[in-house]
Amino acid sequence: MGPAIQISYLVAAGLFILSLKWMSSPDSARRGVLAGEAGMLIAIVGTLLRHEVVNFEWIMIAFLLGSAIGAPLAYLMPMTAVPQRTALSHAFGALASALIGAAEYYRETPHGFVMVALVIEMLLGFLTFTGSLMAFGKLQEILPGRPLVYRGQNFINLGLFAAAAGFGVALILSPEQTWMFPVFAALALIFGVLLIIPIGGADMPTVIALLNSYAGLSASAMGFALDNKLLIIAGALDGSSGFILSVIMCRAMNRSFTNVLFGAFGQAQERAAEVEERPVRSAGAEEAAEMLESARLVIVVPGYGLAVAQAQHKLRELYDSLTRRGVDVRFAIHPVAGRMPGHMNVLLAEADIPYEKLFEMDDINAEFAQADVALVIGANDVTNPAARHDQSSPIYGMPILNVDHARTVMVIKRGMSPGFAGIDNELYYMDKTLMLFGDAKAMLTSMVKELSSVRA
């Protein structure tokens, strides 16, 4: 590798670091994308100039094919489907990494350290490939979102992983035994499938972040195998990013990694039947609109249900209409709102809601006490006060939004069915709570209509 190429890799690594640094704020974030693109371009050109690279036809065809698939994937995906796209791209990244590892193995049959790196690369690559495809299937609702569990599942999974790792170690010790390679690959691929099957839809944000981390670490391991520091750096950045995000998600649900991976949370719990019928106060759009109009501070708590009902744009109309009347409207975003970290922010930003009105849980929780109205739309478990005091509740200890501290709570909901985790929400039975029964979009539409007629 000539010095010019090394310098191109060094510059690319620097640009990737700047790219992440600039992502820290929305003002500089687009510059961050540019830096990343520039780094990528420099690294690719540098690689194409390496004297080992002599056949260009297929590389160019692959570039064209990849761009032809990638560009529509980026432009046509609705924002609600961003988690699926992300899962799919983890699958592609992991597949690339695993296949490169396989090609290296068959070409060089390396020994020692390089083989260790290759085995780690391929193990992570293969299991992330199938695992991400399963996550994609669940998010796209091709596969059932509910966890698939069976007796002895953890035992089988751990056994499978041990077997895959065992063949990996055997390959490191004697790489010439090529018959072991397909067995190793198959075990890793199957393990990826079985790892994700028992994980429920509610845990997808954590899982996506974790798979992100694995895909990055796999690329980093490839850097070790190819003696390429740029790959090591880029992979490590991606790996640590995914890891942090999954830790944030776990904390936001008060759960541990092992619990997410092996706990099969989110199963329908039979407890719902035990809850006796309790009275709730319900109201219509008219009453709700009047209360909102006379409020000073309204905090909206959006959940994924809002996006399912495609009601973000109606919410923006409500926001406009209230803001025009001098009502201070803010949005409280729980870390697990949406289907992946930060998803709800993107959905609201798409509906043109200014991002300074979007607040993180820790920044807004104290404000609920001053709020005249907390308006909960399509969110459930993250507002359940039981998480604070009811030790028998499955969500006990989970940080929640202090919706119940507001003077009045309004909840837009189709019916009284329990949420994702199958837990009854005591918020709904409080005296200060008004239930607005109906589809989120329809309800917001009639609230906006009421508001404009009040003015007329």
Binding site: F16, L20, S24, P26, A29, R30, M40, I44, R50, E52, N55, F56, W58, I59, I61, G66, G70, A71, A74, Y75, V82, T86, S89, H90, F92, G93, A96, L99, I100, A102, Y106, R107, G112, V114, N212, G216, A219, G223, F224, L226, L230, I232, A234, G235, A236, L237, D238, S240, G242, I244, L245, I248, G338, M340, G342, N345, V346, A349, D352, P354
Partner: protein, 98 residues
């Protein structure tokens, strides 16, 4: 190839740097962050090019290399484009009003 332990130092420093950088990213941008790091880790395309373009490439490794270049290109193209598409939506005030 002998074991070059400086690679481990590079990895460790990059991992710590990644932690520090990502911790500073506002949760507001966690989704674009993930698609950006996705695109960046498509740098695996470098390894894929070396496989696909090698002089002595066997049929098998040409095919594997071709698929790997394609998969990485999908990631880097769609990753950067969708990150930018999302970031364009984050507006401060009513400037984006239609």
């Amino acid at each position: 190839m002998p074991f070059d332990e400086s690679l481990l130092f590079v990895f460790m420093l990059a991992a710590f740097l990644g932690f520090e950088l990502v911790r500073r990213v506002s949760p507001l941008l966690h989704t674009p962050l993930m698609s950006l790091t996705n695109a960046i880790s498509a740098i695996a395309v470098v390894g894929a090019i070396l496989i696909a373009g090698a002089k002595d490439a066997s049929a098998l490794s040409s095919v594997l290399g071709f698929v790997a270049v394609t998969a990485s290109t999908i990631n880097l193209v769609s990753g950067f484009l969708i990150t930018d598409r999302m970031l364009k939506m984050f507006k401060k005030r009513e400037s984006g009003k239609r």
